[in-house]
């Protein structure tokens, strides 16, 4: 321990430690501390809690749709309600579940992992959270406040990408689209603020010895994501402003009557929309990058390659958007470009998959629930990537565009990769966030039920797609051979629902009476495990000094520190 100083033992208790848990506080004072907080950990937890609530809401929306589709000629939902449900399900899942989850993890973990006491701009951090939160509540208020076509309360119903000219005033009367556009602008401002903060934190707040290439990969990937957010969410904000100009000021951006081009909206939306997938998936990779080495008892394989691959994915992802638009009618060179650029994404992604496997190879793997979710992620992400390559071929895409094959493909990415990683991360860091371990027994039930449900739903969903079942239809005639697949898909959805309820129960129960976690339950190596669980408001009593990528390894194994080899 020449000069590595890590405050593993909690050296002091300051007054004002975790005010919410002190007995002298009334619930009003506790609420006040949470609402007015600028602490990155509390904001991180609020992001994650907010995402969990909306995960349940969007899950219920999905279940209602699956009930409707389980049998042919069903009248469980009306067509109008069905349209609102798939719009709200998509918008919620992307903007109110995926984004808050990944930003919540970044908020909570990035300062801890680089040995900082908070984010670089704590008040901007609080502002970003509340903008995101208000965006979500604003969107859902549309159920009550927006006057729809029928004159009653209504929600947006034009799919989560709101293709023009359907969103123009002539076709979407009432205020539903205004709620949608404004909600996305608000949450977009929040997201951009959070990304600015992550970048400033990583560049300005690293502790002594934490060079860029000693940062944990989670920090690297969140930095890459933050950079991607800046150039990805902004085009969406710009396009939504244009839509609002059209709707409120009578502009003609996407109004084909006045020479405007709806295809321009397609481009603008997917310039946001495709990199958005990587904005969501890179932080999911980041979680796997921490979980897999810890539970394989090996340092990550190919750290520089992982960093380069992340930057490569972020860069390539900016040039693939029009593979969502092969059926729009682009020129042959245009199609060819987007086929090739999309195929190129497979290269850095493949590097990552090989590196995760190489990390596990020869390791002493501990199959905790967190690790199980991470391993399932690697396998499922590979499959999701393979259907992605199929869909990136323009002729194949022409055949299957807007069928359930596409729905199955992107849910394989969003659920099979991102949601699995989020669960993996929750099982891994829940002990750090609350001081209590999640029950592994309930966790294994959660894992196996969720895997079963996931594969029932999304493996079988490919087949009606290949049989030509279009997306967005609220019902269908019998006799196309779609019924039995839709029943399996629907049953799988309910199995997933049960698994998520089990997980919610596990979180509440473990929080109330789970086993004490202690500062470092997994024998891990990054700095967040060097402080108590949950960490004190100031994170580290003494600023840590690190000498390698695995500072806690150096401290636990002073006879064989990492910095000798790096």
């Amino acid at each position: 321990m020449a000069d590595s100083t890590l405050p593993v033992d909690r050296p002091m208790e300051l007054p004002g430690d975790l005010p919410g848990e002190q007995p002298g506080f009334t619930w009003l004072e506790t609420l006040h501390t949470w609402v007015t907080t600028v602490d990155h950990k509390k904001l991180g937890l609020m992001y994650i809690g907010y995402a969990l609530i909306f995960l349940l809401v969007a899950g219920v929306e999905a279940l209602l749709m699956r009930v409707q589709l389980m049998v042919a000629n069903n009248h469980f939902l009306s067509p109008e309600v069905y349209n609102r449900l798939f719009t709200m399900h998509g918008t919620t899942m992307v903007f109110l579940v995926g984004m808050p989850f990944i930003i919540g993890f970044a908020n909570y973990l990035v300062p801890l992992m680089i040995g900082a006491r908070d984010m670089a701009l704590p008040r901007l951090n609080a502002f970003s959270f509340w903008m995101t939160a208000l965006g979500g509540f604003f969107l859902y208020y549309s159920f009550l406040g927006a006057v729809g076509l029928q004159g009653a309360g209504s929600a947006p119903d034009t799919t989560w990408w709101g293709y023009a000219p359907l969103t123009e005033r002539a076709f979407s009367r009432g205020h539903t689209m205004d709620y949608w556009a404004l909600a996305l602008v608000m949450s977009g401002i929040g997201t951009i603020g959070a990304a600015v903060n992550v970048i400033a934190t990583v560049f300005c707040m690293r502790c002594k010895g934490m060079t860029l290439f000693r940062m944990p990969l989670l920090v690297w990937l969140n930095l890459t994501t933050a950079g991607l957010i800046l150039v990805t969410i902004s085009p969406l904000t710009a396009a939504q402003i244009m839509l609002l100009i059209d709707r409120y000021l009578g502009g003609h951006f996407f109004d084909s009557q006045a020479g405007g081009s709806p295809v321009l909206w397609f481009h603008f939306f997917w310039i946001f929309g495709h990199p958005e997938v990587y904005v969501l998936v890179l932080p999911a990779f980041a979680i796997a990058n921490e979980v897999i080495p810890t539970f394989s008892r090996k340092a990550i394989f190919g750290y520089p390659a992982m960093v380069a691959a992340s930057a490569g994915i972020a860069f390539i992802s900016l040039g693939v958007w029009a593979h969502h638009m092969f059926t729009v009618g682009m020129s042959a060179p245009g199609n060819a470009f987007f086929v090739l650029s999309t195929g190129l994404v497979g290269v850095p992604t493949g590097i990552k998959i090989f590196n995760w496997i190489a990390t596990m190879w020869g390791g002493k793997i501990r199959f905790t629930v967190s690790m199980m979710f991470a391993v399932a992620f690697v396998a499922q992400f590979l499959l999701a990537g393979l259907t992605g390559i199929m869909l990136s071929m323009a002729p194949w895409n022409w055949q299957l565009h807007d069928t359930y094959f596409v729905v199955a493909h992107f849910h394989y990415v969003l659920v099979g990769a991102i949601v699995f990683c989020i669960f993996s991360g929750l099982y891994y860091w829940f002990p750090k966030m609350t001081g209590k371990l999640l029950s592994e027994r309930l966790g294994k039930w959660h894992f196996w039920l969720f895997v079963l449900g996931f594969h029932m739903t999304f493996d079988f969903m490919h087949i009606p797609g290949l049989l030509g079942m279009p997306r967005w239809i609220y019902t269908y005639q019998p006799g196309f051979g779609w019924e039995k697949w839709n029943i399996l898909v629907g049953v799988g959805a309910f199995v997933q629902g049960i698994a998520i309820l089990l997980f919610s129960f596990n979180m509440v129960r473990s929080y109330l009476k789970g086993a004490e976690a202690g500062p470092d339950p997994w024998d891990a190596w990054t700095l967040e495990w060097a402080t108590s669980s949950p960490p004190p408001p100031y994170n580290f009593a003494i600023e840590p000094v690190v000498a390698s990528r695995r500072p806690l390894w150096d401290q636990k194994h002073p006879e064989d520190p990492d910095w000798r080899y790096e």
Binding site: A2, L121, F253
Partner: protein
């Protein structure tokens, strides 16, 4: 423990100076803002000559030379103000340097205000004489959006410049606030730089 770790771990330079948080954050904001402007510029360029009815840019737009000179020279004055503040923090002649700062800063705000007033006059002419509004045609929609987006950035910049000016006039601004002032100046330079792009697209290429 310390005996075992005989060779001291190779730290990065112990006195690493982290870059200023404000500057890094502002650069990130500028990247995001550039992306927003880029989308509006693409929309503008895409719709050049696609309006179904008049008036066309050539008929109604006049090149705002004076405005442009005012806005671009405000970048120079704000740089001179920054330099004065820097001098105030190092030299003994603090008071005169602070006065120079206030003067240059006031110049910057004034030039920004002239630019904004020029835009207001241009818009008044376009609306009342030429009958061009957001609703008229694609040119109107894209023109008011792009120029208006830039003007709204000028307004935000002017509000912040005015705050600093008030602080400077009331003696609340001190040389140690230099780094915060630099962050604001960076934003102002960005607003000026964007005008070069907007000017080129709207008044040179689009006309």
């Amino acid at each position: 423990m310390s005996a075992l770790a005989a060779p001291a771990p190779p730290h990065a330079g112990s006195d690493r100076r982290a870059p200023s948080r404000g500057i890094v954050a502002m650069l990130a904001v500028i990247v995001a803002e550039s992306a927003i402007f880029a989308i509006f510029v693409v929309a503008y360029v895409f719709y050049i000559g696609k309006s179904l009815s008049g008036p066309t840019p050539r008929q109604v737009l006049e090149i705002p030379y004076f405005n442009t000179v005012c806005l671009l020279s405000s970048s120079i004055t704000i740089w001179l103000a920054e330099r004065s503040l820097k001098r105030a923090s190092t030299r003994s002649a603090t008071r005169s340097a602070m006065r120079a700062f206030t003067a240059w800063w006031a110049c910057t705000a004034l030039l920004g205000a002239i630019f904004l007033a020029g835009t207001a006059l241009e818009w008044r002419k376009l609306i009342y004489q030429d009958g061009l509004t957001v609703r008229t045609n694609l040119f109107g929609t894209t023109f008011y959006s792009l120029v208006g987006l830039h003007a709204s950035h000028v307004i935000i910049g002017l509000i912040m410049l005015s705050f600093v000016l008030i602080f400077a006039l009331t003696g609340k601004l001190h040389p140690q606030h230099r780094h915060r002032v630099e962050v604001l100046a960076l934003y102002w330079h960005f607003v000026d730089a964007v005008w070069v792009v907007v000017f080129t697209v709207v008044y040179v290429i689009g006309r």
